[in-house]
Subunit: 250 residues, 2 copies
Amino acid sequence: MKDIHSPSEQDYIQQLSIDCVIFGYQDSQLNVLVPKLNFRGDFWALPSGFIYQNEGIDQAARRILEGRTGIKDIYLEQFRVFGDAPRSNIRFLERLIELNEDKLGDKPFNHKEFDWITRRFVSIGYYALVDIRKVVPRKTDLDESIDWYPVRDLPPMIMDHHEMVKCALETLQLNLDQKLIAFNLLPETFTMREVQELYESIFDRAFARNNFQKKILDLNVLERLEKKFTGAANKAPFLYRFRNAGAQVG
Amino acid sequence: MKDIHSPSEQDYIQQLSIDCVIFGYQDSQLNVLVPKLNFRGDFWALPSGFIYQNEGIDQAARRILEGRTGIKDIYLEQFRVFGDAPRSNIRFLERLIELNEDKLGDKPFNHKEFDWITRRFVSIGYYALVDIRKVVPRKTDLDESIDWYPVRDLPPMIMDHHEMVKCALETLQLNLDQKLIAFNLLPETFTMREVQELYESIFDRAFARNNFQKKILDLNVLERLEKKFTGAANKAPFLYRFRNAGAQVG
DNA sequence: GCACTATTGTCTATCTTTAAGACAATAAAT
DNA sequence: ATTTATTGTCTTAAAGATAGACAATAGTGC
């Protein structure tokens, strides 16, 4: 599916890219949406893209994220710029070139289509929080597939993308204590246990149930709804809803 | 003083710049080092620069900072990227052009030397913490002068530079609670009162003396030295030194 | 030398927040 | 009716933050 506008390279800011760490949550597991590259050999890379000349960087990140998730009003946040001089992981790069010499040409990297692999890039890292149920993952021409992977069990990714995820997760943890953003990862209604399991998967540690509930309720941002009857042989938990649902786009 | 290498524009990454908020502390006042532009009219702009093709962004920031302060091992931190599509403050820009038509040409901005004023740039914001006594502020060819200004009483700066300082200060406040970086703003030895006044100038609010002292000493990072006899008619305060002096470059 | 002043270093009491333990309430299964 | 797993909430204990108090002391003025 080609872009209608099919912009030439000159329409983009050169040597500057955006890489996105898209977090989604399901089955007590924090996941990241990662495409597999359409190359021989197993190479993954974070969803990324470039910035048009007359486009803000947040705007560009939103466009890229919508292209991969189908979601318009997405919660996103800049977390760092990656711009070391040699950002490539040499071992990865050599294997990729070795396995894909035909595509890349004899004198590798003359093909404009693929020079992003080796040209020096500075990349702005964004992370996004989405309700995994609303996402319909979309491939681009460069991708073989795109899937959710557990944040602590990711496939081998090119360049410094593993460090990016690590940095995004650390920033998310910090921000979670200050802003109130975790609910972007949940469906509209949820039980207290689900909130706790979400926090536990983000911080990778257990919380005390009694105190956790108190802490969250003391924030005064949840609205208690009717009970949720799961069919299990125990007391039914209440459902909650975040007060400013929808107004959480940052 | 021209750069010896005198690099052509092609040696830089295009449309990507670094802007620096350099914090210094003196006389109970948090200051920022700001050059005044060598244009008619009163225009100030944060110290900035570009990134060489084979240079990391942190490395570039260090080079720029050394050029303005003369300090090599400087504490610095990325705090945000500024990349809205129209970053220019139109009113400023119009006045600057009006007052400097001769320099900028009839068809303004044909001069490569000055096109940074209007070309679309994405800028990486860094803040730096320096001991103001070690700094010898240096002008570039573009500057008329360079001086320290109180962080809450800055001269009119171009573009979004006021927002940059605001954002840098907020990040500094957040980081101060987590990392231990404030001592980069102080001389090697200092009294507890000086530390407190520094914190008060950064957070723009008062702290209780007794509890502040306890909190800082409980961090176990200060080494108590001999007393400092100021000549004042009161008990002489102890001098302190930061334990890992010099190892604070981040 | 002696009272006086401004400031420092530290102690204690109080309030608030965080953490841990305990237990009744309840939806379904037996 | 009894049992089971889980939930909602209360109580108590520990830790941390906040505020008040006061002795110690380097100089000043007499």
